[in-house]
Symmetry: C2
Subunit: 619 residues, 2 copies
Amino acid sequence: MNALRIPAPSLRPSVMESFLAEIHQTHRGETGGALADYIPELTRADPACFGIALVTADGQPYAVGDSKIPFTIQSISKALVYGLALEDHGVEGVLAKVGVEPSGDAFNAIVFDERTNRPFNPMVNAGAIATTGLIQGHGAGERTGRIIEMFRRYTGRTLAVDEAVFASETATGHRNRAITWLMHNFGMVDARVDEHLEVYFRQCSLLVTAEDLAMMGATLANGGVNPVTGERALDARYVKFVTAAMASCGMYDFAGEWSFRVGIPAKSGVGGGILAVLPGQLGIGTFSPLLDAQGNSLRGIRCCEEFSRRFDLHIFDPIRPGAMSVARVYRGSQVRSKVMRRERERHLLEAHGGQIVVLELQGELQFSAAEQVLSHASRVVNAAPEACGHLILDLNRVVRISGAARDMLARLQCELAAQGIDLYVSGGGGHAAFMAAGGLPEACFYATLDAALEHCEAAVLARSLQADVESAGALPLTEMELLAGLGKEDLGRVAALLSPHSFAAGASIIRQGDEASSLFFLSRGRVAIRIPGAADTPIRLASVGPGVAFGEMALLDGGRRSADAVAETDCQVLSLEVGDLESLGRERPGIVTVITANIARVMSGRLRSANAELQALAR
Amino acid sequence: MNALRIPAPSLRPSVMESFLAEIHQTHRGETGGALADYIPELTRADPACFGIALVTADGQPYAVGDSKIPFTIQSISKALVYGLALEDHGVEGVLAKVGVEPSGDAFNAIVFDERTNRPFNPMVNAGAIATTGLIQGHGAGERTGRIIEMFRRYTGRTLAVDEAVFASETATGHRNRAITWLMHNFGMVDARVDEHLEVYFRQCSLLVTAEDLAMMGATLANGGVNPVTGERALDARYVKFVTAAMASCGMYDFAGEWSFRVGIPAKSGVGGGILAVLPGQLGIGTFSPLLDAQGNSLRGIRCCEEFSRRFDLHIFDPIRPGAMSVARVYRGSQVRSKVMRRERERHLLEAHGGQIVVLELQGELQFSAAEQVLSHASRVVNAAPEACGHLILDLNRVVRISGAARDMLARLQCELAAQGIDLYVSGGGGHAAFMAAGGLPEACFYATLDAALEHCEAAVLARSLQADVESAGALPLTEMELLAGLGKEDLGRVAALLSPHSFAAGASIIRQGDEASSLFFLSRGRVAIRIPGAADTPIRLASVGPGVAFGEMALLDGGRRSADAVAETDCQVLSLEVGDLESLGRERPGIVTVITANIARVMSGRLRSANAELQALAR
């Protein structure tokens, strides 16, 4: 016995599973409804069976109860096979044979649209058989194989046909046979009437579980890609059409009330399954074979109603979207690139950095989000136009960009350019190619916000009519910030200890871990202070400009270098051995005190900037 | 002439308006269709009229063309009056008289649900008249007044009745009269048949513009509140039902195909208007009186189709949701409260601060977002359970929390508490009361992330079995970080210059702008460094703990104080006049050099922390 041992905490069963268990518990007592009896095989189902599964659009699965018990998919297959028909013939090709209008009639009604002789929609038997009639392939075997292969992409496994149910459907499907011949009479299906019926009966007899249904739903919710396997099950263009057909016609003649009360597009089958899809969010699969008068699973309906109500999932509820797309707005006077500049440049950027405006975007950029960006940009520009010369859209936290949003941002770039305002896009990583294809010029893209800021700062400094320090000659010692306040004589003593070095762009000046025995004054060029990052990509902590020192901590603690220093451009530096300075200090202690105080002052200034930046970033 | 004057840049016409103008331009050439002719008045409309308006759910309006031309609302009124009936009788009360099942029949069909004798849905004439029959009030005048008042809340203005159209409808509405008598026969409307018809004809004859329709749509999209006036037009509970009924039945016998092709819930009227609603995002209003065979505005349909396609607005398109709810995850070892601690405590927090995990949430917290939070929390806890003792959910950037999300977080708190993990919620401001109502204990809430971090840090330090420094006596001089490295004799010389002071909690120690002539060593208690913020709320830059100095910049630049210092608890401090130290320095320069170097070292440490924090915040 080990009384002190604390068991490892765990969130199993997870919070979500505890909710599912409650919903399952609430509805398991519902024993109304009846087993389907139109074919003998279905009456053998266990009426007590009850399973619920949920899979999020990013593939997180949850399940409770009999979620792994197989049953026949029946009419739920209609929705998915409709997607395959769309892939085979396109939207207009399919619409020529099958409408998408809810008819208000029962699933097995023999009614057709008078004007066109089309079956009303793909979710009634007539429309579903016509849809199956559109599935390409030679013979029933190949066509059934394509359907089973499609289901494998949705579920991640190969579904089996329940041969007893198939035989039963085949033996008793006289009404469906009549419907099919009537449709052949109208020219809605071709002469392979028996073959179409065989494929249709087989597709209805496929064995699935509630978990399979939830995964199919999650695949539709995820734009047609199975979120666990990553495999595409349905062309992205057709996902919304499958879901829309489910929404308007999926629940037989209960579809309108379902859409009204539950508001989650769904398809049910007389095998007892319901598949529900909330686009972009999740898929639900339920299984309970007790059906109501319309042929829908009674417990399944109750579960979905409770899901919708309890988790606010009604698709027409205006709760969903709106996540702020503009997380923060700040200006170049508040947040700077990592380029460390001398006081004069810093003051210029304090005064004029406000011309650089950063909109930090987040989340999903679709129409509404992009409209918010345009609106913000318009406000920034119109509020004080002379104060905005550079607009940076930072996409670092944007997860996805829709084509619409891209086009809107591309147009914003044009409008701003016409007004002399530059638009830049930073941190777009994976989105850059997509956005460039929408018309945003190459030159707008920067890999990081830091790089975009650096570019804009350089433009602001150049515009400030100051001589471009970097292109001028090497900086004199009097301009070195760590030597400020030293008298002429002391400066001369220090100068005598300095050794000049030149480094070509890319050369290493200091290596992390080396002994820190000297400090450096940069008189020309740019030096990056960086540490090794993941995947061989170094992280730039700072970039040092002329007049600024680096490696100065050597003077304070003389330990080891904490970062690399690498020449970003061709550079000239002056090095100072700490030992030499200490010797000089013993003779003239004031020199070391002045330099140390300068270090403290520079650190304090940088700390103040960092704190200001932290404050800006905390909104 | 002033050739140098640069015109102020402006984004008028806005980018969005330029898109609208393009869509208008594309479809103005469409001159097919015909004016409604079932009443003579409608044939007088100008077939060239064509207006488009769009209002976002946050009230941003855009319009192009004849967006201010009035026309009669006709059947569009059915959707809004349905909302009023829901307010008067509740969902079940209304469903008892009018179904929500699409019938596939024309708008003026005389067909009823065989099982119930109800009209199929509120968007066909029969259902709409039955719905108007449910509007409460005494006499046609009062009931019409309530309807007009409702439209005022939606549009922000009082709509007028077109008396000529009203007279025309009254004179020729024989079919509607027949339908109403038949419904009275079935018991679906009461005996006030003429009164119901008068109210119905008046509601259909109200004059609106495309801009009015867009504002109604935006109001529905905004959960029933007009986003410009802030007035509630429809009880939030019923918004989704109105939108759902529009989605399944709003476009007459074209509703299924509309939902399929356009996917934006909408209602059209034979006056030439279409009102479309994308929940949570926007409302669209179009006006063009040329109608297609189903009685829908032809150009209106084309516009909405193009809107949907061009801006990816199809509601069943899984592009919408998903904005990451967890913006950043970091640990107390990376990001700290603003409490400045001595080295020993800092080291303890570096070692053990990882027990504090911060999930920074953003955007709209609904089901999917909350599920992501649970999933993240579960991952953090299960990954290395002993390493998470405190979980902070920072809501600073959360714009809205749904009831479902609240309940899910409340349950997370319970589950974590059972495992000995504390859950805190920071920055929830406006959400705190709402979340507390969901069962989250008071003690979980902190106004700011800083305050929550401070609380958790204190718990981590206490757990680290270190004597609680703050409750122990005053700290000796040897523990002051700025005096580290001074020999015994030098320390004695400095001690002789120090004056002890006591301050009660809340007392002011330093004021911003005062002359900086001394620095302070804190030997007991806690001192806040802060600057005045907006609305008299000071911003805490830092909080100083025992062993740490403040006002130390006096030694470096001797300017004025840049911030206030205020005792957060009862404090003991030791002050040191800079002048006295300088005098001492003339005698023993090494002392000042050591103290200055310590300042630089401390600054450097703080800068390193600030940079680490910036890096964590940049994700």
